[in-house]
C-alpha cells in the first residue's frame, strides 16, 4: 500500500495530460487560452461535445446535453471576447448543472419520474449568476434520486459511474458532477450538499469541491432536500477554479430566506499566499477512534498533514465532540425535513420512487416532533464546539470518505461504506468544507481529505487548499478512460 504517491499499478492508470489538451484544461487555463487566442469557446465546446458523445455512454454523467444551445452560447462568448468585452475568468467556460437546479426552459428531473413534465420557468439564482459571468451552460448532470437515493438498478435513469474505474460508484449525490469533471467532460460543475453530496463525489472522483458556509450561496431555484442543511457549491479540477466560481456565485439573494447578508469579496485573493503562518488542527479521533477509516485513508491524511508541515504550517491534533453526536443530530434533522418535503408524494405515488430513496425518505414519518427539537438543541451546542476549535486553529483537517469507492453493484459493500465519512458534521454546523484529493489507493482509486474553516472564511480555506494542491500535485492526475472502460 502506498497512499501518498501512486503505486506502480495506479500510475499506469493515469494520464499525465499536457495542459494544451482542452478537455483537461482548468477554467483558469481556458481563460488564459482565450485571451491568448490559442483556443476559442466554439472550439472548446465542440471538443467537449465530441468527448461526451464518445465516453458518456460508459459514464452516464449527463441527464441531458444541450449541444445546440451550448454552441450558440459559445459563439456569443467568442464574439464578445473578440470585441474586447471579456467579462472575467468564467467567460466562455462550459459548466454542468446538477439536475435538481433549475435552468430556464429545461426539465428539472431530480433523477426521478416524480418530476416528469416539470420544466423550469426561470434560471436558479446560481445559474443566472454563472450566465452573468459569461459561463456556458453545457447540460444537466446526473444525481442520486432527489439527492437522497443511491446508485441502484430500479432507478428511472442510469446511475453515473466512476471514470477512474467504471465498475465503481462515483459518490453522490452530485454523482454526475464529479464523474463529468473526472472524465474531462467539463471544467466546472455545480453540486448540492446536504450530508456531503459535493464532497463525496469530489473525493471519489479525484476532483475538488467546496461546500460553502450555510447561506453564502443562494438555494433559490434548487429543489430542496432539507431546508436547514442544504448547500449549493462549485466542483472543479482546481482550487483556483473554485475561487473564481465563488466570485460569481456568492452573495446575498433576497429570494432565499436562508441567504446570508454579505459584502463583495475576492475569493481568489490569497491563493498564492501559501500556508506558512496558518494553524491546522487534525480531527484525528473522527477517523481513528470514533470510527475507523481504512488504513489507506488514515495514511493519506497523515501524509497530507505532513505535506502541510513541510510547507511551513503549524499542524497539531485537535478535539471535537464525538463524531456520533454530529451524525445523529444531522440525521434526525435530515430525515425530518426531507419527509416534510416528500410526504405527499410518498403517500400518493410511492411506486414512483426507487427503493433506496423511498426507504430513506419515509424515515421521517416515524420520528417525533421532540426528536427534531432535541436534534436542533444539540446542533446549537455542536456549532459552538466547532467555532471554539476554530479559535485555536485556522483550518480543521478532517477525513472525507473512510473507504475508497466500492463496486457499483455491490449492494452490501455500498451499504457498509456509504455512511462511513465525516462530512455531515459541517452540514449540521454550516461551516465551509473543501474536499481535495490526497492520494490514490492501491487499486488506483482517489483518496480525499477535507479542510474545514470558519464561517464565511472561504478565503482562508481556499488559500490552504491551493497551497496543498501545489505541494501535492494530485490535481494533475486523471483517469484513463480507455483503461477504465476495458
Amino acid at each position: 500500500m502506498n497512499a501518498s504517491f501512486p503505486a506502480d499499478d495506479a500510475a499506469r492508470r493515469q494520464e499525465k495530460i499536457p495542459a494544451h489538451e482542452p478537455h483537461w484544461m482548468t477554467a483558469a487555463q481556458i481563460a488564459a487560452a482565450y485571451r491568448a487566442r490559442s483556443l476559442s469557446p466554439v472550439e472548446l465546446v465542440q471538443a467537449l461535445v465530441e468527448r461526451i458523445a464518445g465516453y458518456d455512454p460508459q459514464i452516464n454523467a449527463f441527464v441531458s446535453l444541450d449541444a445546440d444551445s451550448a454552441l450558440a452560447q459559445a459563439r456569443l462568448a467568442q464574439d464578445e471576447i473578440a470585441a474586447g468585452g471579456w467579462r472575467g475568468p468564467l467567460h466562455g467556460v462550459p459548466v454542468g448543472i446538477k439536475d435538481l437546479i433549475d435552468v430556464a426552459g429545461q426539465p428539472t428531473t431530480c433523477h426521478s419520474p416524480i418530476m416528469a413534465g416539470h420544466v423550469a420557468r426561470e434560471d436558479a439564482t446560481v445559474v443566472r449568476r454563472l450566465r452573468a459571468a459569461g459561463a456556458i451552460v453545457l447540460g444537466k448532470l446526473s444525481l442520486h434520486e432527489f439527492a437522497i437515493g443511491g446508485p441502484n438498478g430500479d432507478g428511472f435513469y442510469p446511475s453515473a459511474r466512476n471514470p477512474w474505474n467504471t465498475r465503481r460508484q462515483p459518490g453522490g449525490s452530485s454523482s454526475g458532477s464529479g464523474a463529468a469533471l473526472a472524465a474531462g467532460f467539463l471544467p466546472l460543475a455545480l453540486g448540492t450538499d446536504t450530508g456531503g453530496s459535493i464532497r463525496n463525489p469530489s473525493g471519489h472522483c479525484g476532483v475538488v469541491g467546496l461546500k460553502p458556509t450555510y447561506g453564502a450561496v443562494s438555494r433559490r431555484g434548487v429543489f430542496p432536500l432539507c431546508f436547514t442543511l442544504d448547500h449549493v457549491g462549485p466542483m472543479a479540477r482546481s482550487v483556483e477554479d473554485l475561487a473564481e466560481a465563488m466570485n460569481a456565485l456568492a452573495g446575498h439573494d433576497p429570494g432565499d430566506p436562508g441567504s446570508a447578508p454579505s459584502r463583495a469579496r475576492d475569493f481568489a485573493v490569497d491563493l498564492e499566499r501559501g500556508v506558512r503562518g496558518l494553524r491546522f488542527g487534525v480531527v484525528r479521533h473522527f477517523h481513528e477512534t470514533d470510527a475507523r477509516a481504512s488504513d489507506e485513508v488514515i495514511a493519506a491524511i497523515d501524509q497530507a498533514a505532513e505535506t502541510l508541515r513541510r510547507e511551513g504550517a503549524d499542524v497539531r491534533d485537535i478535539q471535537l465532540p464525538p463524531l456520533q453526536q454530529f451524525t445523529s443530530a444531522q440525521r434526525v434533522i435530515f430525515h425530518a425535513e426531507s419527509w416534510a418535503v416528500h410526504a405527499n408524494w410518498l403517500r400518493e405515488r410511492p411506486a414512483d420512487y426507487s427503493s433506496t430513496a423511498r426507504r430513506k425518505l419515509m424515515v421521517g414519518a416515524f420520528l417525533g416532533a421532540g426528536d427534531y427539537v432535541q436534534a436542533q438543541r444539540w446542533r446549537t451546542q455542536l456549532i459552538d464546539a466547532v467555532d471554539s476549535a476554530l479559535r485555536d486553529v485556522d483550518v480543521l483537517i478532517v477525513a472525507n470518505s473512510f473507504d475508497p469507492a466500492c463496486e457499483i453493484g455491490d449492494e452490501p459493500e455500498f451499504v457498509r461504506t456509504y455512511g462511513r465519512h465525516a462530512r455531515s458534521p459541517f452540514n449540521l454546523t454550516g461551516h465551509p468544507a473543501l474536499a481535495l484529493m490526497c492520494g490514490l489507493s492501491g487499486e488506483g482509486l482517489p483518496l480525499s481529505v477535507q479542510f474545514v474553516g470558519r464561517a464565511h472564511d472561504e478565503v482562508t480555506l481556499l488559500r490552504a487548499g491551493a497551497a496543498f494542491e501545489r505541494a501535492g500535485q494530485w490535481s494533475r492526475c486523471h483517469p484513463s478512460l480507455a483503461l477504465c472502460a476495458a
Partner: protein, 67 residues
C-alpha cells in the same frame, strides 16, 4: 412511537404507517416501511440526552452575516 424491530405485520407498526398516510406503501412496500420504522427507532436511541434542560434549540440554523 414504534419500538425498534417492529415487524411489518404488527398492529402498532400498521397504525403508525396508516396514521402517516402511507397506506399505499403498507400494501406495496412493507419491507421499505419496516426499514424506515427501524431506522427511526435506532436514530432516536442514538440521540444523546442533554444535561441542561434549558438548552435552546433556537435559532435552528445560524445564518451568519458575511457583511
Amino acid at each position: 412511537m414504534a419500538a425498534a424491530g417492529t415487524g411489518a405485520t404488527d398492529a402498532g407498526f400498521l397504525f403508525l404507517a396508516r396514521d402517516a398516510g402511507l397506506q399505499q406503501a403498507v400494501s406495496a412496500f412493507p419491507e421499505d416501511l419496516r426499514f424506515a420504522v427501524q431506522t427511526a427507532a435506532q436514530l432516536r436511541n442514538t440521540l444523546f440526552s442533554l444535561d441542561d434542560a434549558t438548552a435552546e434549540p433556537w435559532p435552528p440554523m445560524v445564518v451568519r452575516s458575511a457583511a
